[in-house]
Amino acid sequence: MKSGLSIGSQSFLAMLVGLLLGVLLRLSILAVDQTQIPTQVLTPTPPPPHQTLEGGWKVVVSVSHTTAPEIVSVQRLEQVRLLPSTSATNRAQLLNAQGQVIFEQGFETVFYYGEPPTYHEVVEQIIRLPDLEGAAKIRILTPGGEVEYDLVEQ
């Protein structure tokens, strides 16, 4: 008595079971891939330009050609608008408590200004920054040096 399946039946069953196994295998691999996707972005995303943001800082900076910049004053703003940051010689940064940069804005200082422009050794500039959660310090960097301001005191 022949107890085995015919070649045709074996082929059909083989394809069916193999297909099922393949689908199961693929689903399990996909599930593993998805568990590897980070569910939280740790680095804060810079606030987008062209929008009115809740909270900001008005920073008056004294910039010199030769010496480190000085922060003249820092004042909190109820709302602030930012323009896109472009590559620039000077940078204004927000740091968190661990000293990591969480926001950066480039800015230029032009030492010739007025009509007609005349040379100024020191230029006072106003920089606006967003008030980001976790910001602990403002840092201003120029070719002449850098200066930090503790926001916790505010």
Binding site: G4, L5, I7, Q10, S11, L13, A14, M15, V17, G18, L19, L21, L25, R26, I29, L30, D33, I37, P38, V41, T45, P47, P48, P49, H50, Q51, T52, E54, K58, V60, L77, Q79, V80, R81, L83, P84, T86, A88, T89, F107, E108, V110, F111, Y112, Y113, G114, E115, P116, P117, T118, H120, V123, E124, Q125, I126, R128, P130, D131, L132, E133
Partner: protein, 299 residues
């Protein structure tokens, strides 16, 4: 009945079901091979909304509210959001640029202030084509700086400070019906801190001054004086996009009228107070277009 040994039973099972087993192994192998070709698309997780951002219209004390919106103004619809979330502007929409005219020792009426501001604005918008890149929102509040020192070299920063504290905006224009006299020079009709400055000051009686100073903010250089052009060419990042007119003498004290536009208008980057209309010449327009395109990117 013959009883098979264990080895014979295994061999018989393989005879009966070997094809099935082999087929299954082939299909699994095929499935693994196909996985390499059909990798799922990477799934990106959008960043969580920033907790400090909220798109809104400026919240100002009642007495500081703008009394009139410019006819050219595009007012964004107020968006009421119960939770602080950011609403990204659609990529196809133009980003918003908010410009505030600040009354600077303005002695006339609010209506006169608004009319002067509107005329200054119209010249800049029509000549710069700014509205091709931005939805421009203009405010002309009735409360401004009343006791400013028009000769102070901090005047531009005073306007910027006042504006930042009271009216959130991208740029501030201090407009006066008085006499701006930077460092005592009474022939000065307006000035700014140069490229990337957020504020300018201008005398209302010279229509082209606001456009001239905003030209500096967006990187243009003076065409009325070679020494002025030269110092800006040496200090502006990337130098001057607009050349000093070739037909003007490069001597100290010579006032050049600037490179006129193709249709014969006076150059806005030339001196103020000339007879006739003013416009941005071709090189200035091209440079402004490039600058606006850069600034209007939304990331």
């Amino acid at each position: 009945m013959k009883r098979f040994s264990d080895q014979e039973q295994v061999a018989c099972w393989l005879c009966d079901y070997g094809g099935l087993l082999l087929g299954m192994l082939l299909m699994v192998g095929l499935a693994l091979l196909l996985r390499g070709w059909l990798q799922p698309m990477p799934i990106t997780v959008p960043p969580p909304p920033m907790p400090t951002m909220i798109p809104s219209t400026p919240v100002l004390p009642t007495e500081l509210l703008p009394t009139r919106q410019s006819t050219l103004v595009t007012i964004a619809s107020p968006q009421i959001s119960p939770t602080p979330v950011s609403t990204p502007t659609p990529s196809s929409a133009k980003p918003e640029m908010v410009v505030v005219f600040i009354r600077l020792n303005w002695s006339g009426s609010q209506a006169e202030f608004e009319q002067a501001a509107q005329e200054h604005l119209n010249l800049f918008l029509s000549e710069s084509q700014l509205e091709q890149y931005f939805a421009v929102v203009v405010q002309m509040p009735s409360v401004g700086l009343e006791d400013a020192d028009l000769s102070s070299e901090n005047l531009v920063n005073d306007v910027a400070s006042f504006g930042l504290l009271n009216y959130p905006a991208d740029y501030y224009i201090g407009l006066t019906d008085g006499d701006v006299a930077l460092d005592g020079q009474r022939d000065v009709t307006g000035w700014t801190l140069g490229p990337n400055s957020i504020a300018v000051v201008a005398e209302a009686s010279y229509l082209s001054v606001t456009a001239h100073e905003l030209g500096h903010v967006f990187g243009l250089c003076d065409e009325y004086s070679y020494s002025a052009w030269l110092s800006q060419n040496q200090t502006f990042i990337g130098g001057c996009p607009n050349p000093y007119p070739s037909d003007c003498q490069k001597e100290v004290g010579i006032i050049c009228s600037g490179q006129p536009t193709l249709n014969g208008k006076n150059s806005i980057m030339g001196p103020s107070g000339l007879d006739g209309d003013y416009g941005f010449n071709q090189v200035c327009r091209q440079s402004l277009a490039e600058r606006f395109a850069l600034l209007s990117r939304q990331e």
